[in-house]
């Protein structure tokens, strides 16, 4: 048990070191210019040295991701409960939810900006669009897979819809919902970066574009690494919440 834990903790660290030393050695050996591909050491240095300049943008990105995510998750779950409860809602909405998952978001963002300008709102809306559908689809799966015998138990007790949701349907669907929520955490981050890419001058996405236009590849990479950190933080946060909420074994 503990041995496995150590392995699962140490293995990714060793992989991390291998990748970055390999990268460092190759760039040094081949004398690749800094504007084309900087060395990891230079990128890490930039992450620290330029931190004061990056920080406001990191904050904006985190804010957008969190705000959009927090709005998207309940919308996705609520809509799933409507879709799985009423056939009409299912028929009316399902194709459009699927559309939202399939359409390349980057093609929608310029349109949204045309309607809403370049501010914070449009980025939050982008995040919501990008992340709610995946929560919705997984929550639907969860709500549809409640074992018949559990439904019958609640029927035999004359449980109200609310009682059934609280005591049987939501807990049964919880692990499927969390699969969706975890994906939504990742999609929220990528959605936010695409919105920042397209327009505006705030957030890590806008900085990646700015630095690469000036061939400041090192700074550009530093921003990409910060994006990764934001995404990982979302992932860990959600996994932590999942462990706290789903405390039982099936």
């Amino acid at each position: 048990m503990t041995k496995k834990r150590i392995e699962s903790f140490i293995a990714p660290i060793i992989m991390f070191l291998l990748i970055f030393t390999g990268w460092e050695i190759i760039v040094r050996a081949l004398k690749i210019p800094k504007w084309l591909l900087p060395m990891p050491s230079q990128i890490f240095k930039s992450m620290i040295v330029n931190f004061p300049a990056f920080w406001p943008h990191i904050l904006v990105t985190i804010e957008t991701v969190l705000l959009g995510f927090i709005i998207a998750v309940p919308i996705g779950i609520l809509l799933a409960s409507l879709i799985t409860s009423f056939k009409v809602v299912n028929a009316a909405l399902s194709p459009y939810v699927t559309f939202l998952v399939m359409v390349p978001l980057i093609s929608l963002v310029p349109l949204l900006m045309l309607f809403m300008g370049y501010g914070m709102n449009v980025r939050v809306v982008t995040v919501i669009i990008q992340s709610f559908a995946v929560v919705n689809m997984n929550a639907c799966t969860g709500f549809n897979n409640v074992p018949i015998m559990r439904q019958e138990l609640m029927q035999s007790l004359g449980a109200s819809r609310l009682q059934s949701y609280r005591r049987v349907i939501l807990p049964t669907a919880a692990s499927d919902i969390f699969t969706g929520v975890r994906l939504a955490g990742i999609f929220a981050t990528t959605g936010c970066i695409s919105a920042e890419y397209v327009g505006g001058n705030m957030g890590l996405g806008s900085q990646i574009i700015k630095y690469s236009q000036f061939l400041k590849t090192t700074e550009s990479f530093a921003c990409i690494f910060y994006v990764t950190i934001v995404g990982l933080m979302m992932y860990w946060l959600i996994s932590f919440a999942q462990k706290k909420i789903i405390s039982w074994k099936i």
């Binding site: 015998m149 559990r150 019958e152 138990l153 609640m154 029927q155 035999s156 007790l157 004359g158 449980a159 009682q163 005591r167 049987v168 807990p171 405390s247 039982w248 074994k249 099936i250």
Partner: protein, 274 residues
């Protein structure tokens, strides 16, 4: 039963009057139950036996408001219960349903599972909580109350399933092959515990099974169902003395009942009924 003489005077507790259930699938209609009639008196222990697919589980689901019959009427204490819409909680409270599997919810402890009907029916207070503890003690689960379902054995789980159906003090227990998934020894033991509970509480019990021996051992009367469509084939009264015990299984009267039933079921696969 010693109360046989009173039977004609008593109004039936449960009455099925020409009940049919038709399930519609996309391509065809399946008649699960056809023209089923049955009367059960207060305090009786009756079994319904038949091959799988004969609609015996559908019958008690129709009584407990889980499925609506397509035709016919079901009466509980003289009142028809299969009207449109949801069955009222006051009616449902008179019944407890025991499933084929324990059907406990993994996110609740054993005690919370047992107490679940109280929460749904809105029964609160010291007396009810005490009842939960008494029932746990009755089936030897006092120490397991705070454990989660995955931490206790199959027999223990099904015991919890049984007392969950009894916690809101229903007068009628509906049991859908409750011990079918358990091993032989545990099943026999639980059958005996069930008889003890029945003797003390005098609940009205409808017991669904496909096991002839189990049916003869437990019941006062057995309804035999045939399949395609599910229908009542024959009724057999079991006039064996009470209290019943496992020792009776080898006695001639018991064996002759068993043979009679097996013969009546006739075309049923013999390997299935032991």
């Amino acid at each position: 039963m010693e109360e046989l003489g009173k039977k004609t005077l008593q109004e039936p507790r449960i009455k099925f009057d020409n009940v049919s259930k038709v399930f519609e699938t996309r391509s065809q209609e399946i008649v699960a139950v056809k023209d089923y009639s049955m009367e059960v008196l207060t305090g009786e222990f009756v079994s319904i036996i038949g091959p799988s697919g004969c609609g015996k589980s559908t019958l008690i689901r129709m009584l407990d408001g889980i499925i609506k019959p397509t035709y016919g009427a079901i009466y509980l204490d003289g009142i028809q219960v299969n009207e449109e819409g949801k069955m009222p909680k006051e009616t449902l409270r008179k019944m407890g349903f025991i499933f084929q599997q324990p059907n406990l919810l993994p996110w609740y402890t054993v005690r919370e599972n047992v107490a679940l009907p109280l929460r749904i029916f809105g029964l609160s207070g010291q007396a009810w909580e005490k009842r939960v503890d008494e029932l746990l003690e009755l089936v030897g689960l006092t120490k397991s109350g705070q454990l989660f379902p995955y931490e206790i054995s199959g027999g223990m789980l099904q015991r919890a399933g049984v007392i969950r159906a009894m916690v809101h003090d229903p007068e009628i227990l509906l049991m859908d092959e409750p011990f079918g998934a358990l091993d032989e020894l545990t099943r026999e033991q639980l059958n005996m515990e069930l008889l003890d509970i029945w003797k003390e509480t005098r609940k009205t019990i409808i017991f669904i099974t496909h096991n002839v021996e189990e049916a003869v051992l437990l019941s006062s009367r057995i309804y035999i169902m045939g399949t395609q469509p599910g229908r009542l084939v024959s009724t057999v009264n079991i006039d064996l003395p009470r209290p019943r015990s496992l020792k009776m299984i080898t006695q001639p009267e018991f064996i002759s009942y068993k043979q009679k039933l097996t013969k009546l079921i006739g075309d049923l696969d013999l390997s299935k009924i032991k």
